[in-house]
């Protein structure tokens, strides 16, 4: 795989996309389709979650099948914060990131001792543990999950209605993409990608490979936790279903469709998958079959993902 290097058109394109995204709710209201603001928020949140996995998978080369655990942990932390009387996103969201990040640090510290399929399976096992813990935690709603009493507040401003949450999600995603783009081109990202390419060589150059991998894994977990906290606000529920392994599979699918190791791979993948889902659901109740066939098509005919079709990378 090639190394990330920012293309010259990337900055103007990002700014243009951001402006378009800022204008979207106004546009949707103008044409009487406010309903889609909630859907757009969902896309933003999953773009964030998929991007956090792309950091781990695409840049770190770690195939994690347990990433949804961190998403779910973030959602629960937000809900638990509200239950404890903390309704401020500026407090609850960092807490969600912290808890999810620490959880990822723990999972990574054990899982990164293994390689290949063993790593895939041990991350899956940890996610399953978390899933069953939440399912049986009666204090947090068990099977049914922990509902939020309403949307939280951000800096004292209530997030009620669809639009404020949309802008919060957009702000989070924009910040994360900025950070992601910078770190991918900075020493850390360079190191991480080189480890993905050739672990032994990096060790022979004096790099403590394990630490960089673990840092990326924990950072990915923390960002997934942020997405989880946003998602709980959108759906009004922290549900154990968020931690199910099929959810981890869906995130993987997003990253792969979008393009593993491309900066915008997660965003593109989340957008395509969710729009496709929305479109197919309207067509047939058996849209899973169509989706499955499409995924098979991607694997067999566009193995590098959609971003690879039009994104050129250095090398």
């Amino acid at each position: 795989m090639a190394f990330y290097r920012p293309a010259p058109w990337q900055k103007p394109l990002s700014v243009a996309l951001l402006i378009a995204a800022l204008a979207l709710p106004t546009l949707l209201t103008a044409i009487g389709q406010e309903f889609y603001v909630g859907f757009a928020t969902r896309v933003l949140i999953f773009a964030l979650a998929a991007t956090s996995l792309n950091l781990v998978l695409g840049f770190g080369g770690m195939v994690s099948l347990g990433h949804a655990a961190f998403l779910g942990a973030g959602a629960y932390v937000a809900a638990i914060c509200q239950q404890a009387g903390i309704n401020e996103a500026l407090l609850a969201f960092p807490a969600a990131m912290g808890v999810a990040g620490l959880f990822a640090l723990l999972v990574g510290a054990i899982s990164l001792r293994t390689r290949g399929v063993y790593f895939i399976m041990i991350t899956l096992a940890f996610a399953q543990m978390a899933y069953y813990l939440f399912v049986s935690a009666r204090a947090w709603g068990g099977d049914d999950g922990l509902p939020l009493t309403g949307k939280m507040a951000f800096a004292g401003i209530g997030l009620g209605g669809d639009t404020p949450l949309y802008y919060l999600a957009l702000g989070c995603l924009a910040l994360v993409m900025l950070l992601f783009g910078r770190l991918a081109d900075a020493r850390f990202g360079r190191t991480l990608q080189a480890i993905r390419e050739n672990e032994t060589r990096m060790e022979a150059l004096g790099y403590a490979v394990f630490r960089y991998r673990l840092a990326a894994f924990a950072l990915g977990g923390a960002l997934a936790g942020l997405a989880g906290a946003l998602l709980a606000n959108l759906t009004g529920l922290a549900s154990p279903n968020l931690l199910q392994w099929t959810q981890s599979g869906t995130l993987l699918v997003m990253v792969i469709i979008g393009g593993v190791g491309y900066l915008y791979g997660g965003v593109v993948g989340a957008l395509i998958l969710l729009v496709l889902e929305e479109f197919l659901v309207g067509l047939t109740p058996h849209w899973h079959i169509a989706l499955g066939v499409l995924l098979l098509g991607v694997v067999l005919f566009a193995p590098k993902g959609v971003a690879a079709l039009f994104g050129k990378r250095h090398g």
Binding site: Y132, V135, A137, R138, G249, L295
Partner: protein, 304 residues
């Protein structure tokens, strides 16, 4: 108490042996073809549906079991020739994605064909009741499953450990290039192993059908357990799959049955009521993480 422990131990054995039927195929496909097949659980589900549908049509459990297993083998053959063959050389990520897509398709296809309601599958009438051994009662059908499981385990052991085909399979798992260089038709061998794995899936699905509901989604939970088994046992090792299955089957069954009781003796009632089921359901994952921590290649690594 003795009755309970004995009964649960037998249940654990029975569950473990069924897991083995699934894990055996999975570990071979994984070990020899280096292919992660998440859709292995879907073969189990589809197999169970085949058996249930055929048994209803023929009004006989045994005919249904035979027809269902044969049907799953044919499905396995078609899948191997059309899709899996192209996946063996691809990276794990592509395999995960493709077989994840298969799960989506299989679940929905089953729902389209047989509807969202679970299918009923009745055990053969002669085995419906309990068997009495002195003071001890145990369902006759479960004993049959144990017998089946043991027979297949022995057969598999003989096949893999003693026969020429088994020798090739083991050689293929340990070193594929070398086996090819020796003139073995690895392609045909792969197809045979995959089809055999699919048949075992249907056998397990059909046998468990009368105990569990035959329904959409039944494949996923069992798939994860089968993965846990082969990771614990060491990928590619039949012996590892057997040991892993028995460990997972017994630990899971006994944990669910006995842990809550044990905890009640140690902890306050409400703490035990929360912790018991939680601990019981994560027990095998803790076990797996622990084993991987000390033996990152599983208990019986097939590749030296």
């Amino acid at each position: 108490m003795t009755q309970l422990v004995l009964e649960q131990a037998l249940n654990g054995l029975q569950f473990g042996l069924m897991l083995f039927l699934l894990a055996a195929g999975l570990t071979l496909v994984f070990g020899i073809m280096d292919c992660i097949n998440l859709a292995h659980g879907s073969l189990y589900m589809v197999g169970a549906y085949f058996v249930a549908a055929a048994a209803q049509a023929a009004d006989s459990f045994w005919i249904g079991l035979g027809a269902g297993v044969a049907g799953a083998a044919v499905l396995g053959l078609v899948l191997e020739l059309s899709l899996f063959r192209r996946l063996y050389q691809r990276d794990h990520l592509s395999q995960v994605l493709a077989t994840f897509a298969l799960i989506l398709i299989a679940n929905e296809a089953v729902r389209v064909i047989w509807g969202p309601q679970p299918l009923m599958l009745n055990p053969p009438e002669s085995l419906a009741g309990p068997l009495e051994i002195g003071e001890f009662f145990y369902p006759a059908y479960r004993l049959l499953i144990i017998g089946f499981g043991l027979a297949v385990a022995i057969l598999l052991y003989l096949l893999v450990a003693k026969s020429r085909i088994g020798m090739w399979v083991r050689a293929g798992a340990a070193n594929r290039e070398m086996t090819e260089a020796l003139g073995i038709n690895v392609r045909a061998l792969f197809t045979a192993v995959f089809v055999f794995g699919a048949a075992l899936c249907a056998l397990a699905g059909g046998l468990l059908g009368p105990l569990l509901a035959v329904q959409v989604g039944m494949g996923e939970s069992v798939l994860i357990l089968a993965f846990v088994v082969i990771i614990i046992g060491g990928i590619g090792s039949i012996r590892g799959a057997l040991v892993g299955s028995l460990i997972v089957g017994t630990v899971d069954t006994l944990g669910r049955a006995l842990l809550p009781t044990l905890l009640r003796a140690l902890l306050p009632a409400d703490a035990a009521a929360t912790l018991g089921p939680a601990l019981a359901s994560i027990l095998i994952y803790v076990l797996m993480a622990g084993i991987l921590f000390f033996k990152p290649q599983g208990l019986f690594p097939a590749r030296a």
